[in-house]
């Protein structure tokens, strides 16, 4: 089966003044049809840039190398026309802040209908009624009335539902959600994740969920990729990752999540040091300076991603199962 999205050896660097910043270093991954993949990483991990490259949204000073294939067609370095055949219809993206991703001067109905009018050539009237149906599907109450309202009249959670609706209008094969709940209250987050789960069930599309929050990704992802300093450091099924994380970074991250149950702690768990600044060049393993298990080999030789069953880990001394 051809993967829906296939990324091979992708590297993204940004040229700034005299130096070039390596944001993504030789990342390869494949997303199967209808699969949900979670991408976890902190600042400097490059997780967003990988998918900005796929969508052709990299900044003008970015240099991308490698290959990104969507349903067989090459996306990287494709011209605007080729990209626009696919973007917004079959390959869509949901961003973090719904207030800035919705146009403030257009009513919701127009923004939803516009997607169909542009990509499917529907008439405005047909697109408008499709928009109303989509609002129903994303569980916006009283959809007929809402079509005429403007983004500022909606709460954050409702806006994000509209954005999700827009991304689904043309029945995409792949939706990329970049931190879709980070800007929302925690009581709304769970409901949005639930909505994504239901939509996945109804539309059957593949979903990439990018987040820094393991808890958000836990409920939805079949497979999780952990990125650090521009590289993939671990890739495993969600079950495996949470039960037996093999990369020390993943294991430490899991320990950092503050618990609501269990004993109250005097000090919070943390990982010493800080994530490397984007583009910081490091010898050996990027995580070595912070790794409690680092040894000499880690500081000189960079570990490559090696497979172990269906999971892979980039570590010289991965944690035992």
């Amino acid at each position: 089966m051809t993967p829906t999205l296939s990324i091979e050896d992708l590297s993204v660097s940004f040229s700034q003044r005299d130096a070039s910043l390596e944001a993504v270093q030789r990342v390869s991954l494949a997303i199967a049809p209808a699969e949900c993949v979670g991408i976890i990483g902190e600042s400097g991990s490059g997780k967003t840039q990988v998918f900005m490259a796929a969508m052709g949204l990299l900044a003008s000073n970015a240099l991308a190398r490698g290959s990104i294939r969507f349903e067989g067609g090459e996306l990287l370095h494709a011209d605007a026309a080729a990209l626009n055949r696919v973007r917004g219809s079959k390959l869509t993206m949901i961003f973090q802040d719904p207030m800035t991703s919705l146009a403030p001067h257009l009513c919701i109905g127009t923004q939803l209908a516009e997607v169909l009018v542009c990509h499917s050539g529907l008439s405005w009237r047909d697109a408008w009624s499709s928009a109303g149906r989509m609002l129903e599907r994303v569980r916006v109450p009283d959809p007929k009335r809402r079509l005429h309202q403007y983004p500022h009249e909606l709460s954050g959670g409702m806006r994000q539902r509209v954005v999700i609706g827009m991304s689904l209008m043309c029945e995409p094969r792949l939706v990329i959600a970049d931190e879709p709940t980070t800007a929302l209250d925690v009581t709304i987050q769970a409901q949005l994740i639930e909505l994504l789960r239901i939509m996945r069930g109804e539309f059957g599309m593949a979903l990439v969920l990018i987040s820094h929050d393991l808890g958000v990704v836990a409920g939805l992802a079949d497979r999780i990729l952990v990125m650090y300093a521009g590289r993939i450091v671990e890739c495993a099924s969600a079950q495996e990752l949470f039960r037996h994380a093999r990369h020390p970074y993943t294991a430490e991250m899991l320990k950092c999540i503050p618990r609501l149950s269990g004993p109250r702690l005097a000090r919070l768990p943390t990982i010493a040091g800080q994530p490397p600044r984007p583009g910081e060049l490091l010898e050996g393993c990027a995580f070595a300076p912070r790794c409690p298990l680092a040894q000499d080999r880690c500081r000189t030789e960079r570990p490559l991603l090696s497979n172990a069953g269906d999971s892979s880990v980039a570590c010289h001394f991965p944690l035992p199962r």
Partner: protein
């Protein structure tokens, strides 16, 4: 029992017709860490700024060492600020981009200890930089050269250099990476312990607040809805909103396939809360007639546990997860 260090009474703030804070009253004791949780629109940041008179309150009082911070004369307030400090949410934005880090940290010294000569000041700044985990050489650099976590350490150094009696932390780690949030929180706890500073720790992250607070305040739509010690709050909360908040937090150990069950809360369509009665009533599964007309007062249900709910005396069934 200590005497209260800070006594807030009926604090209300109006933003052009919309009540950002309504009738907030509470006490804070010396050396205590008071956690304040709430989501967007709860008014928690407004509360922090209102206490410090960084914005104008419509009415209410903030008693501090015999003075009302909201009505005292400006020079008196400035003098009192020595002991009332704040750490902001956006670490980079809270630092003057045109001032070196050393000058930023030294500013409180320049204001309150003008007799200090340049060399002595430099030593104090260097000591503070080391205390917060940075190096004295960084004093000559500019904020944009540092990461978010480092900027926050600089902000903390500035706030703590005079060992204030109260430190307000307004979401100090929300914009930082998860792996370093703990570092900053631990740093705050260390500094607090060494200086005996009381802390008002504002956050939307319940789990963090649980670990470091002696008491927790929960806010919703500009009002206090529950006050309790962490164990009481997290194990046996009374207010429906608190229960929903706890239910919505992702599971303590993420387990595949078990997403946080969506809170059984109606999601409000528009941003504005209901105009009368309890602000939570349009989302509350337990709302009754009286909730529509009267704002519930904050009442003590058990010693030290306060709740603002008309039905707090009933043993309400915990919110159940939808099928």
């Amino acid at each position: 029992m200590n005497d209260a260090l800070l006594r807030v009474r009926n604090l209300s703030v109006d933003f052009g017709g919309h009540a950002a804070l309504s009738d907030v009253s509470f006490e804070l004791y010396a050396g205590e860490t008071l956690g304040l949780v709430g989501e967007s629109g709860s008014g928690k940041s407004t509360l922090a700024r209102a206490i410090l008179r960084l914005l104008r309150a419509a009415h209410g009082s903030v008693e501090w060492f015999g003075q009302d911070l909201l009505t005292c004369a400006a020079p008196v307030l400035r003098a009192l600020r020595r002991d009332l400090q704040i750490v902001f949410q956006d670490p980079l934005a809270s630092l003057n981009p045109r001032m070196t880090v050393g000058d930023t940290i030294a500013e409180p010294l320049r204001i309150f200890e003008p007799g200090l000569n340049g060399h002595a000041r430099q030593l104090r700044v260097a000591a503070m930089l080391e205390r917060v985990g940075l190096t004295p050489a960084m004093a000559a650099r500019y904020p944009h050269e540092f990461s978010g976590g480092q900027c926050q350490r600089i902000g903390i150094a500035r706030a703590m250099i005079l060992s204030p009696k109260l430190l307000i932390c307004d979401e100090p780690v929300s914009s930082l990476d998860m792996s370093i949030q703990g570092q900053i929180v631990n740093l705050l706890l260390d500094l607090q312990r060494d200086a005996g500073t009381a802390m008002l720790f504002i956050s939307h992250n319940l789990a963090v607040v649980r670990h470091l607070s002696h008491r927790v305040l929960v806010m919703y739509s500009g009002r206090l809805v529950e006050i309790a010690a962490p164990d009481a709050l997290f194990a046996s909360s009374v207010h429906p909103y608190t229960k929903a908040l706890l239910a919505a937090v992702p599971a303590s150990v993420p387990a595949a396939g078990h997403a946080a069950a969506p809170a059984a809360l109606v999601e409000r369509f528009a941003a504005a809360p209901p105009a009368s009665g309890c602000a939570f009533r349009d989302r509350c599964p337990y709302a009754v007639a009286v909730c529509e007309t009267t704002v519930p007062p904050l009442a003590e249900v058990v010693a030290g546990h306060w709740v603002a709910c008309h039905r707090s005396h009933e043993a309400l069934i915990p919110l159940s997860f939808p099928p």
